[in-house]
Subunit: 224 residues, 2 copies
Amino acid sequence: MRARLRAEMTDEIKAIARRHLATEGANLSLRAVARDLGVVSSAIYRYFPSRDELLTALILDAYTALGGSVAAAEGAVDRADLTGRFLAICHTVRDWALANPHEYALIYGSPVPGYVAPRDTVPAATRAVTVLGGVIEDATLAGVLRDDDRLPDDAAADVARIGAMIAPSAPLGPLSRALGSWLQLFGFVSFEIFGQLHNTVDVPGPLFAQQMRAQAAYIGLPTT
Amino acid sequence: MRARLRAEMTDEIKAIARRHLATEGANLSLRAVARDLGVVSSAIYRYFPSRDELLTALILDAYTALGGSVAAAEGAVDRADLTGRFLAICHTVRDWALANPHEYALIYGSPVPGYVAPRDTVPAATRAVTVLGGVIEDATLAGVLRDDDRLPDDAAADVARIGAMIAPSAPLGPLSRALGSWLQLFGFVSFEIFGQLHNTVDVPGPLFAQQMRAQAAYIGLPTT
DNA sequence: CTCTGTCAAGAGCAGTGCTCTCGGTATGCG
DNA sequence: CGCATACCGAGAGCACTGCTCTTGACAGAG
């Protein structure tokens, strides 16, 4: 009962903080949030022990929001359409980032100065890449992937460790290529969100679609 | 004479600011810089009209430092060794980022809240990718690249526009792949610098080398 | 009905970016 | 050489920040 009021309060604080984040940017002001909430600044500390804790909560929410969007979008695609599932993941990441640029910056941009990611963010953070792993796993089981690459031992160990978590059956070659695609996906989105593409690509959408389609082919997913 | 003292002063401010950036992080304090310089805070404003202007100066320096490192490393490789030149670029970007993580974050991380990149940062920012363009251009002139890909028209236009700036002779297929490599390179480095690889890849060096080597092969640069 | 735990309010501290004014100094011109 | 101008650093001050601490009010439990 009293706990429910408390939960509502923290949710409201997070909602206002998210709104401030969207309009102002990364420098979130506790006092401004308190003002918008019609409360004095010290009252916020009843619910979040520090500003960093508030940010951590927002980061966790952002990870789960992104992960949820990706999982939902990928889940809506016909399971047999492996390339479609892959492209759904890629486009959902980009779309979510474009819709929530500041939250994207919060989780994939430069970390805030003194901040160290708490351990509990890890599962939320890995959710999206796990969905990608599912596609690679299914493609492996469907027998559509070819394993042409030879990886050096040290790199192979890293790829194998990642594969064990997200696509245990996949061979290392396609897995390494999928990992590269993942990096390229976020490289593209980060460049676009952070303005690195200005005066270079004015409408990045088609280029993004082409790049991700090329990645699907490079991984070895069936061309549709 | 008086101008030289002024130049020395601005250089000293920038040096101290860079040092603070390296130790503290992105939240650079003008007053702390002034303290370290043995001067009162308002004196800084004689040399930089605002904190953002100081940051802009540091950003510009960071771009030219990275661009210079990349150009120097690539220039030291035998011109005929196209893959070696490509790999030199990739590894120099990563090495520079690892050596100067906060400056990397300054230019490739989330932009500071109210900040808009001034126009004069563009040439400095494009220096590094221009070096990559040189490699692609030379590879094209050497006739080692194959143009297998068919790009959709809208994406082709973007790729062509970029190609006109950095590698005018290159066909769109390899150019698009090189662009993807560039994005993947910065995707990897950003993930590594920003801690996205923690608890996943503990020693990213070998994986990076393998990924970049794979990219060189994917672009079509001769395997060495 | 009292007691205890939770809550918001308010004052206050140390720090921030930035502005303005006030003396002092060096430069360049007549 | 003498003076006016431009520049420079110091200092005070404003509005803001995150955060701490104390105080008083209120609700639920015994």
